[in-house]
Subunit: 760 residues, 2 copies
């Protein structure tokens, strides 16, 4: 793309990678404080029951116990992520709604005593009939899980773009198919944890929490404790993965704060792995029926969707999830007419929440599988079919998305070439096959209740640069990417940047880590703040050099006139001169960045541009099926992606590889198995992730586009790639054995069953 | 003074007072990190010796030991506080120079093993002759403690203002007297501690340290480790007192960093009380001869000083201390002609360093004692003598000090009245007496190598205000005072302010806590930054109200038109409106403040204005001597002081009371007793501070002056009051028993000896 950069675009290790590798990086559970107490949560053993009575007296008397709290003791305040969808108490009040629901909490001088105290709490329940499937739960007469929510349907979305009925009439073919995606767990390596401290003078709660959204957690905590937000300070230590599971507030956050205030001592909660599985969040299982009208040449005329998401016991991000699921059906393909009807349904099961892709993978599975079905039915090559319907930069969009940069059709062609589409598709021996699927993802959401992403950049007299950012690095490398952006602007190496990120008492407001908006939002904010610092320095240097500030460049710790490296000075000289001119040190720049949007909009009235920009990608898979055992081997996965300019290609690859493994898990291995509300496999051993043994060869193809909105042209890279590995793999399975799987996951049992059926 | 404020001037508890009282505030020793190692220092048992050989092999083999380091292992880099006076290695290289000198360090999995390992290190010494008194040490043939420092005189200052010889000739009387002040220890409640972490990727050292000057410590650590300053991050946790003793870098800082880098683990050092006494810093013992020419009416014509300070083994702040001692002889009295000759002399004893008052108490003792001697000799009342020679605001000054505000003569009169001067002086029964003494102190130093004091203030959408300051609160309440200033500017209560202070990786550059400059420097910086925030908010609100921003006031979480409280809005409304206008949140202001000075000067070429402003005070004491036992009881101490406007009168009183106790300790109780280089009383039990049992009645009289340079008119309150309690007490002893003590401390033994002598 012509321009060369010093730091941006470099394959640099994460700035905190060594500390993490050496074990010195501080995660929440690493926080040790003098006099710290330890908390544990008592969880419901029943999927649906009324709480008649809780007797905590024996627990309170156990030596070492410092506090016990139940839902009756705390303010009657519901919380959640999305306005008007708040439905959750920090501890259950009248009812429990799933096995694992938070019933009471204990804090004690050590975790063992806290655990022992849990066993001394007696809860009398009146068991209620329960329901475990959304299609059952919407029926008349099904048990109602929340008062005032008929048919257990807590949120519905109905959108129509264009005229679908007319378009179906004008279509050569209309096909209807039904798909199902299962529940999977995020399972971050670091379990959810919180450490709270309380200052009695200020009435301030300081909460260290493994969170993706410190500022939202602050809001929920303040609201449920009924104290001003100004009295809550949320600090995000290192976080060992989130994938959306650490967006919500959890009982551990509330109870840590509650007990800290009650006891005056620091209080720690750390969930165990079983709690992470049953009592945090998971990807929504979803039933989706797709009806698509196409012309003989494959042109998509219209699509109609009916989706039922299994929300489990609470809403969490339900409305957002359904909205994303809907809007991202109109990208990366041109769908001029579309109806989406989606329902979020309560069941007595673990709670669905944000998870990498957030509602879109389920829809993508349906669409990309059906495209292959249609291609077969109308006799058009799947790649051709997709290319024909691909969106291009600059074209008008039914939902008014503004597509400034789009490498989608390139990604299709390059992924197909790389997997050997021409030579292989339909031509490999039985048991082997190739398949592909496309996707697109937003780089965050354009307007979220007027929340900007802010940054403060300070350059000190030691030449070191300090960045304050509200962005929440949860392991993906956000801090490194932001630091690279600042380093590039200021012409210093990455090592000169020190970043403090995500402490609501210290760092500027930021929406947090979700929706893959961090690089664009927080990256732009950091870029602007760094440019302000550079501007002040350039003004000083330009005076000294008798040059125009606009002609200066900063690079390799030098500032010089563009094209005349000898007309300049070292950064050290510049800073010393600046300081000795009694200009104020450190040199400070600050900024706040909003995504450009024509008018303030919210997620659900969004008919304008949804996101600052959009990533595009195609996954192409090659699989091998053992026809005797049914065992499936993913041999290779090619991912061709357009994430604008990769600020750090190595970190982008990390995201791609993680996404491929995540998608592969959803396609072939992972499934939260629930029987009568009980999760049957809540451990790493039983859950059965893909491991290194299952890893395919991964080929990554960068399609760099220079997006005008992203910092240095960057777009999201964290989620888009997770959207379509599953349909690509299942499409490849069709090529391998001629069976069309409509549900996830596809396991050896399913393979054998299908082969048996085909034979029979 | 007419103007009223909401937060400034209020008696508010320290913002972190409750946390400290509850034990949840985090001091350095409270930092616990996973895998943390513990370090100990091996100290010299000899006052002066050559190190022939150190055998660490047995220590290294002790199970649990993770590292041993000696002076030969580390870079040959000397460090110190003042440029060109660097003379100290982090660990002794070739010689040890006092009992307690740092010889080697060990780190191990627990402190006990580290302690045990120290005993396994064998050091072969060649003992050298030692010298323990500065007047001996300057003699020809005395043992030389540092190479290349003849007469052990490491720093000398010789200044003449006016024409002293001529003035002496014109004087009616010339008197010469000789005084001595002893060594006293700061003995902060929190012993010196450090916890270091190392990031191998960045090569960054993160040092938590009980320090008064984080930015200086960063410099010394970087310099001695031979790494760029940008790779050192110093964080100041809560500090439990400093009084100047925590200005220097110590072996614990260097060795913690060294071992953290070597082992990759966090490493903690905590000194025990004995180490604080023998191996940190103490107030310089000083011999001072004063020659003063006066007229019959008491007008001071000229003074000539010869001072020898006992520096112990190293320089520490020597040049600064001597300069302060010199310059502050020209204030609070008019001394038109002055010669000061001062010498800082090495001895084989514990090291002298900055201590509350920093060179001035010794000089003040000499001057204020001699003024009483002169008053007696020429028959002028001591108060009259002082009033006659008092400096007043606006008058020219021999060293070009600019005295914008001065309440000194008022303080003399009010203190004299309050102690009952007229009724008591010379009129009390034998054994009781009153005395007084005056003083003045700078509010920091105007120009220190172009180091500004910076502040960043952020007002968030929750209404909370975050302040970043480089100022180092060491227990005096600096964070509270800065927060009050910000609260006043923004019209919010103190509870709305959250301050982060002193993290070189985060907070703006600040000179640190010394010289009593924090309130003026960091307070002004915070004020300016808060005004910037307020300006942005006012601009927005003025638009809404159709008013002029200049007419707005912020008070009690409201913004309204001056004089029309109904024409306004709540701060919450203002912030919400600001945010929903898509103006960037948080609202950020930043500043850096330099003391006004006509030209860049340094401490030693200082012939311009020394400080931004000057405090003034008089102490008046009433004492009672038991003529049988010699026991001295300080009955009452009145302190009349002008610290400009007291931002927080309760904190000012805390400073005054601490100063009175400190001065009383120096006068009557404290003395670091050294025999052949060995400190004989290095414990709280043996050292014998004044306790609550000895506390006098303390009367504080505020003389508020509205200084034009200090924030809201404030001046220093932390040190000035410590300058003259000792001479006031000793002057009162003269009134009580007619004996003129010329040395400190005055103990019952001295009383009895003097009474005996008078009788004999």
């Amino acid at each position: 793309m012509g321009t060369t950069f010093s730091v941006v675009g470099q394959r640099l290790p994460m700035h905190d990678g060594a500390a993490k590798a050496k074990g010195t990086a501080q995660f929440t559970d690493d926080i040790l404080l003098p006099g710290m107490l330890h908390g544990k949560i008592l969880r419901s053993p029943l999927p649906h029951a009324r709480i008649l009575r809780i007797d905590t007296s024996r627990a309170e008397k156990l030596p070492g116990v410092k506090g016990v709290v139940t839902g009756k003791d705390i303010p009657d305040r519901v919380y959640g992520i999305v306005p008007k969808a708040h439905d959750e108490h920090a501890l259950a009040r009248d009812k429990v709604r799933y096995i694992g629901d938070d019933v009471a909490a204990v804090c004690a001088v050590d975790p063992e005593i806290a655990e022992e105290a849990l066993e001394l709490i007696r809860v009398d329940y009146e068991e209620l009939p329960a329901v475990f499937d959304p299609l059952e739960a919407i029926k008349e007469g099904a048990p109602l899980i929340h008062d005032g929510v008929p048919h257990n349907t807590s949120f519905s979305i109905h959108k129509e773009f264009g005229n679908v009925a007319k378009a179906f009439q004008e279509s050569d073919f209309v096909f209807e198919d039904r798909f199902y995606s299962q529940a999977v767990n995020h399972a971050p390596l670091e379990p959810h944890a919180a450490v709270a401290q309380y200052d009695p003078l200020k009435g301030e709660i300081i909460l260290h929490s493994s969170t993706q959204i410190p500022f939202f957690l602050r809001r929920n905590l303040a609201s449920t404790l009924m104290i001003p937000e100004a009295q809550v300070r949320v600090i995000k230590p290192k976080v060992g993965g989130g994938f959306g599971q650490k967006i919500d507030m959890f009982a551990k956050d509330f109870c840590a704060a509650w007990f800290a205030r009650q006891t005056g001592k620091p209080v720690k909660f750390v969930y165990d792995r079983e709690e992470v599985f049953i009592a945090t969040r998971q990807r929504h299982p979803m039933y989706i029926t797709v009806k698509t009208g196409v012309q003989k040449d494959g042109t998509i005329m219209a699509q109609q969707f009916l989706a039922h998401a299994d929300g489990g016991a609470f809403n969490s991000t339900a409305p957002t999830m359904m909205a994303l699921s809907c809007y991202f059906l109109m990208i990366p393909y041109r769908v001029p007419n579309l109806i989406y009807e989606g329902h979020h349904v309560y069941t007595n099961k673990p709670v669905g929440g944000a998870m990498r892709g957030h509602g879109i993978p389920q829809a993508r599975f349906a669409v990309e599988r059906q495209l292959d079905l249609i291609a077969e039915r109308i006799g058009v090559d799947p790649v051709e079919l997709r290319l024909k319907n691909s969106i291009h930069a600059g074209e008008p969009h039914p939902a008014q998305f503004i597509i400034n940069s789009c490498g989608f059709s390139d990604s299709l062609k390059l992924a197909a070439d790389a997997i050997g589409w021409q030579e292989k598709r339909g031509k490999l021996p039985r048991g082997r096959g190739v398949g592909l699927a496309g996707a697109s993802f937003p780089s965050g959401v354009s307007n979220m209740s007027h929340i900007s992403s802010g940054s403060v950049v300070q350059m000190g007299q030691d030449g070191a640069v300090n960045v304050l950012s509200g962005a929440a690095d949860i392991g993906q490398g956000a801090e490194t990417v932001i630091s690279q952006i600042v380093a590039e602007v200021l012409g210093v190496p990455l090592a000169d940047i020190r970043i403090t990120a995500a402490d609501t008492g210290l760092t500027p407001l930021d929406p947090g880590t979700f929706g893959s908006g961090v690089t664009v939002r927080a990256g732009n904010a950091a870029r602007l703040a760094a440019e302000e610092v550079r501007g002040k320095l350039f003004k000083f240097v330009a005076d000294k050099l008798e040059a125009n500030p606009d002609d200066l460049v900063a690079r390799d710790r030098m500032i010089f006139v563009k094209g005349s490296p000898d007309r300049g000075m070292t950064l050290r000289q510049a800073i010393k001169g600046y300081q000795y001119a009694d200009l104020p040190m450190p040199i400070v720049g600050r900024s706040a960045w909003f995504a450009p949007s024509t008018e303030p909009t919210t997620l659900f009235q969004q008919e304008g541009n949804f996101a600052p920009n959009y990533s595009f990608m195609t996954q192409a898979a090659e699989v091998e099926v053992d026809l005797i055992t049914g065992k499936i081997k993913l041999l290779k996965m090619v991912t061709a992606h357009d994430c604008g300019r990769a600020i750090n290609p190595m970190l982008v690859e990390g995201q791609l590889e993680g996404s491929v493994v995540g998608g592969m898990g959803q396609a072939l291995y992972e499934n939260v198995i629930v029987e009568n509300g009980q999760v049957m496999n809540p451990s790493f051993l039983d859950y059965g992730f893909p491991t290194f043994m299952e890893m395919p060869e991964i080929g990554a193809i960068d399609i760099e586009t220079d997006d005008p909105v992203g910092p240095f042209g960057a777009k999201e890279a964290g989620e888009g790639t997770q959207l379509s590995p599953a349909p690509a793999i299942v499409n490849a399975l069709y090529d391998a054995i001629g069976v069309d799987f409509m549900e996830l996951p596809v396991t050896p049992e399913h393979i054998l069953e299908a082969l048996q059926k085909a034979k029979g």
